[in-house]
Amino acid sequence: MTKRNFPTVTTAATFQIEYLRYLDDRGRAVTPLPEFAADPAALLRFYEAMVLMRSYDAKAIALQRTGQLGTYASMLGKEAVDAGVGFAMQKDDVFLCTYRDNGIQMLRGVTMRELLLYWGGDERGSDFAGPRRDFPVCITIASQCLHAVGVAYAIKLRKQPRVAVCMIGDGATSKGDFYESINAAAAWKLPVVFFITNNQWAISVPRSTQSAAATLAQKSIAAGMPGVQVDGNDVVAVHQAVQDALARARCGDGPTLIEAVTYRLADHTTADDASRYRPPEEVAAAWKHEPILRLRNYLSEAGVWNKSREEALLRRCNTEVQAAAQAYLDTPPPPPEQMFDQLYAVAPAAYAAQRAALLENAQAHGSDHAG
């Protein structure tokens, strides 16, 4: 920091942040792929999952546009993140996600019907049958990082070979919750992976407004934990980084921070209009890096994918998604008494009158307030 150059200035510490990428924008391997991807066919399940995510995403938006779903946050453009993370985790790991990580939830066994239920405004969507210990979608930005620390502490205390994986966005890295969490996780060497999906935007606020840090991965240095930046549109790089981090965590080496650089190709949510604040050229340019085409190119080039397989896949995805949507739409609303009965383990006697009044009114009048 000083311009003088006294010999007194000695170096207390040096650090380095690495960047990981295997497939370039056109799907060409820029280097030999890692072991898990040595056989191109091994990447087919990644591709299929990513395409299913995109179908689901499109359907969710369509449902919202037709008044059949609440506000929805699209995952368009981050399918490589979701597949890369989702396939790396074990069933009994614990997943803590944001509203934009439905793709990972799908791979963990949350059904699309359950996801749509949640977006449709029904808490039962968070009572999913698959990964019972996974956390519900977290809306309050970065607050789930603190829960991840507690989960990882419990895992470590019990000496289990499980890992907590916590997703956040670039915007979330500005919040104290995030820093307190990575700092504590490293201090206790906890089995947790913090994963930043840097999609360049936090609603209308660009990455550059959030922080002067050259990379978000370097925030790990503040905590004294390893950090790495990866190409978030390259599923191979994402998967490899997460596998490494999970392995580290599982063998007691503590937490890792991963930053995946990608781009939010859609509006922030269906309630947002991104054209208000970002130029169309930027979005058009970002489409050139998107993850699905890149992987398709690689697989086609490797001879394990072709047009007819693509068409069959799209048909399959469409059928699955339509069925999930229908199942969602066919689900009757939750009974209003759940608002009381699921509040405490035992519904308090003191609230019996409030409960009765609410139920009576629900039957007699339903909604009669404006808005």
Binding site: E123, G171, S174, S204, V205, P334, M339, Q354, H369, G371
Partner: protein, 326 residues
Amino acid sequence: MAQITLVEAVNLALARAMADDPEVIVLGEDVGRDGGVFRATLGLLEKFGPARVLDTPLAENLIAGMSIGMAAEGLKPVCEIQFSGFSYATIDQIINHASRMRHRTRGRLTCPMVLRTPCGAGIHPPEHHSESPDAMFAHIPGIRVVYPSSPRRAYGLLLAAIRDPDPVVFLEPTRLYRLFKEEVIDDGVALPLDSCFTLREGTDVTLVTWGAMVYETLQVADELSAQGVSCEVIDVATLKIMDMDTILASVARTGRCVIITEAPRHCSVASEIAASLADEGLLTLLAPVARVTAPDIIVPLPRLEQNYLPGRAQIHAAIRKTLEFA
């Protein structure tokens, strides 16, 4: 003299305050180019530039805390917390610092800041977007809590809040943001803080409310008027420092009081008003003081929202019961 919505009135007041006083700064998440997720700050960036209209990093604690620092240096920050569900993270700064900067320095440093946040349920949003923290803020000594219920009051009270030399938490009823329009004259005239607004005079029962529930309460008063029941409707407007005198005087005339809020009941602002009536107004009461509130439960996701928010039926029922009391 335009008919405008409540959120447009907020915008108008902000623009007026910024034009009048170069010390007024607007800050928050997405308040710049985007104009705020509800468009309350629309156009301010273009008019007043990025130094005075600033998108902050995503951190509510930062937004509140840096506003305190700005205010101590003599600026007049008006910060926006995107939804009141994210305002809980500001309570630490508001209670530990904003509220007591003047007191603990004996007036040497002060805190003329405004913290604006959309508030309340009814717009079918995701989780945490329907909260009503009015009672939590109103409990804090050393601040004011203001909650307008119409475009005109939003305009006049926000100007007053910004000009006030002490910290003000300004809650905006999301559900009313675009529900109706009202003529608002952009004359820079503030409305008084610490004062109730009697929106309708009446003789049979006093209806006390604030925020979005003013809307349904006025509707009910209309409906009852057709049936020959005369309701006085009071918009409390400033929840702290509260004008209890107006409420006591009204109840002294009507003898009956129903308090309406969409916040959960326990330790609510409605409770405060009822408690004052139980003390200072007891002799004037001809019937129990009724509170129409949300139940003491979590705001549900949209599919059950209509069963959560108190509506006209509950207000009607409470008034009927109060009037029938002999």
